[in-house]
């Protein structure tokens, strides 16, 4: 480019010539800010006292950036930036639509609360081993997954958050944690390898990896290329990451082993990235294939939600119960994918918002209960209402939220999904959702009765410190849960807009390729 004056080069054939404004940079902020903060944290690895405040500041900046991005996306439609100014599909595009931007916002909100909770929960040793850098890099990976517009780039961000999550899982290096991390690592690597193979096949078919480009080329190749095979491969690969039945066995094997903050972050955020990837690929790129597979997806959804929650009923460790509740929630979200209607998809998106916040809050609640009652076992954990009524109040709200009962946030997405199932003529799917709600009430009601109402069965634990940050974190998460429950209109609006965004492929394609008319 130094020789620009010597030759007459028409840069507009290769590069995006429209100047980008600082507001356009909001698309890369949710990835760039956590990476830069993570790098700074690595450099000050030994000054562990700085870690908490640096990480919270970085995540808070990311949160502000996400809010700005979502506001812009809701106002002006999808926001696109192509890295290095090369024209798409040659440059890698970041394309934020209402779905990706809203999920990235909720994920970052959850991460801010987890970082606050970790300030007291993760000691100097955990920080020396890199809890906060791993967390920041994981959030960079999660943000990148939600915002990227390129299939291979999506794979890269999956790897970024997976490798960081391995680091978070082994933190502590106990036998149990290494055992859980090994299972998690091997089974997830199988899933991502499948994702990589599918992506190679997609590149072989389309000659491009830009999602908008694939979406507009898919129609012309339906007759000749094995697109259904490709869609099934993606369903399996992302279903594994989302912990859908029958490839969900890695989640109960690993989520009860790490530190409780790590489990909270994983249970809240990571499975939803898998669900998001399913929505993005199946609804935006392969709508006819999704319609063909909808019967299969509906059965997978029903099996995931019912078998998941049955697993929760059988457990006696609080963290294992929650692992199965996470799986059951994934089943509920897949129901909307099976339906594929705007109402069903909006229900899925709303459920994803709810599930991220509620599952993180439930895991953090388990952490608070552990520090107050001394253990996670439902056999000994008891008498919390008498000792700490505030914990009982948080527990009540969260149990109602997860079970889908008013006045908490779980009610409305389930209402939307049940209505969408009935409208699509699938009453058994609606019944499965309702039955899951009942079983969740039983499973978590049992937890509530045993831990909160039951008089103390064991000796009072030796004076553990009052978890002030724990209460603060729980309050910060219970507030949106109750708000979404009593005043759901704005959230339903965002969820509907997100559902419309993935159903409306021409707008997405048009935003990535502004100069060309969408086919």
């Amino acid at each position: 480019m130094a020789a620009e004056s010597a030759y007459a080069v028409d840069l507009s054939r290769a590069m995006v010539m429209v100047p980008t404004t600082p507001a356009d940079w909001l698309v890369v902020g949710p990835v760039a800010i956590p990476i830069v903060t993570g790098a700074l944290l690595l450099m000050v690895r030994h000054q562990t006292r700085l870690h908490g405040s640096l990480a919270v500041a970085g995540l808070f900046a990311t949160l502000l950036c996400n809010i700005g991005l979502l506001a812009r996306v809701l106002g002006e439609g999808p926001q696109v930036m192509t890295m290095g100014r090369w024209l798409p599909p040659f440059g890698i595009s970041f394309a934020a639509d209402a779905l990706g931007a809203s999920l990235a916002l909720v994920a970052t909100l959850v991460a801010v609360v987890c970082a606050l909770f970790a300030a007291n929960d993760i000691g100097t040793v955990g920080r020396r081993y890199g809890f906060y850098p791993f967390m920041m890099l994981m959030m960079a990976g999660v943000g990148g997954s939600f915002l990227t517009g390129d299939l291979f780039n999506l794979y890269v961000w999956f790897e970024v958050f997976l490798i960081s999550s391995f680091g978070l899982l082994v933190l502590g290096s106990q036998h149990r944690q290494l055992d859980g991390a090994t299972k998690y690592a091997i089974l997830n690597l199988v899933g991502t390898t499948l994702f990589l193979i599918s992506t190679a096949l997609a590149y072989g078919i389309f000659g491009t990896l830009n999602m908008a480009d694939i979406a507009r080329k898919a129609d012309g190749l339906r007759e000749s290329a094995p697109l259904t095979t490709l869609a099934v491969l993606y369903l399996l690969a992302f279903g594994m990451k989302a912990a859908a039945f029958p490839v969900n066995f890695w989640l109960p094997a690993s989520y009860h082993t790490p530190r409780i903050v790590t489990a909270a972050l994983f249970g809240g955020v990571l499975t939803k990235v898998g669900v998001y990837a399913l929505l993005r690929v199946m609804v935006l790129i392969f709508p006819p294939e999704r319609a063909l597979l909808s019967g299969l997806i509906a059965w997978v959804a029903a099996a995931t939600m019912v078998i998941g929650i049955m697993g929760a009923l059988a457990q006696s460790d609080l963290r294992r119960v929650l692992g199965f509740v996470v799986i059951s929630g994934v089943g509920v979200m897949l129901a909307g994918l099976a339906l594929g209607t705007p109402e069903g998809l909006a229900g899925t998106v709303f459920y994803a918002f709810h599930s991220m916040i509620a599952m993180t809050a439930l895991y953090l609640l388990a952490g608070v209960m552990n520090s107050l009652g001394g253990g996670y076992s439902l056999r000994s954990l008891s008498g919390l209402y008498a000792m700490h009524p505030l914990v009982a109040a948080f527990a009540l709200i969260l149990v109602l939220a997860a079970a889908g009962l008013p006045p908490a946030s779980g009610l409305w997405p389930k209402v939307m999904l049940v209505r969408a199932s009935l409208d699509s003529g699938l009453p058994w799917l609606a019944f499965a959702i309702l039955a899951t709600g009942l079983l969740t009430t039983l499973a978590l009601g049992r937890v509530f009765i045993l831990t909160v109402w039951r008089p103390r069965v064991a000796e009072k634990p030796q004076g553990s410190a009052m978890p002030q940050t724990g209460y603060l974190a729980l309050a910060a998460l219970c507030l949106p849960i109750v708000l979404m429950g009593v005043y759901p209109e704005p959230v339903i609006g965002v969820a509907r807009q997100a559902a419309d965004a993935i159903l409306d492929a021409p707008t997405y394609i048009g935003s990535v390729f502004p100069g060309e008319t969408a086919q």
């Binding site: 130094a2 600082p22 940079w25 760039a32 790098a39 690895r45 192509t82």
Partner: protein, 139 residues
């Protein structure tokens, strides 16, 4: 492995390899080479020095902890992408400047800084793994 021959030759070999890694890094813009392969060569140099003379001298010679070097590299790479913000261009767009050093015109670009960042990330990460493994061996 700590034979007299190896211990004598290792410092020279390591310093030559580090020098060569910098050459490969700078060559990488237009020809085969670059930050990743350069970083691997430098990390092998530190690993050889560690095998020959022990891990403690390597850590002393590096001065900074390898993970901190890695973090600094990530920071440099990340920030090199942000420069284009001030030129109304997208993230990671290469920016060029011509500077005169001792009468020579040299083109400096943000791409070079990105590559230096990659070099440091690879050096830091691989060296810290290699040193940790070598330490384990001598316990």
């Amino acid at each position: 492995m700590r034979t007299l021959i190896f211990r004598t030759i290792a410092p020279y070999l390591a310093s030559l390899m580090v020098l060569f890694s910098v050459f490969v890094l700078l060559r990488g813009h237009n020809e085969p080479g670059g930050g990743f392969i350069g970083g691997l060569i430098a990390a092998s140099a530190f690993a050889i020095y560690g095998i020959a003379c022990g891990v403690a001298p390597v850590r002393r010679a590096l001065y900074f902890h390898p993970m901190a070097i890695s973090g600094f590299g990530l920071l440099v790479s990340g920030l090199s992408g942000v420069v284009s913000l001030f030129k109304d261009m997208p993230f990671l767009t290469g920016q060029w400047a011509e500077v005169h050093i001792l009468g020579l015109a040299v083109d400096i670009s943000t791409i070079l800084f990105f590559d230096i960042g990659v070099y440091l990330v690879v050096v830091g990460a691989i060296t810290s793994i290699a040193l940790a493994l070598e330490e384990r061996e001598h316990v």
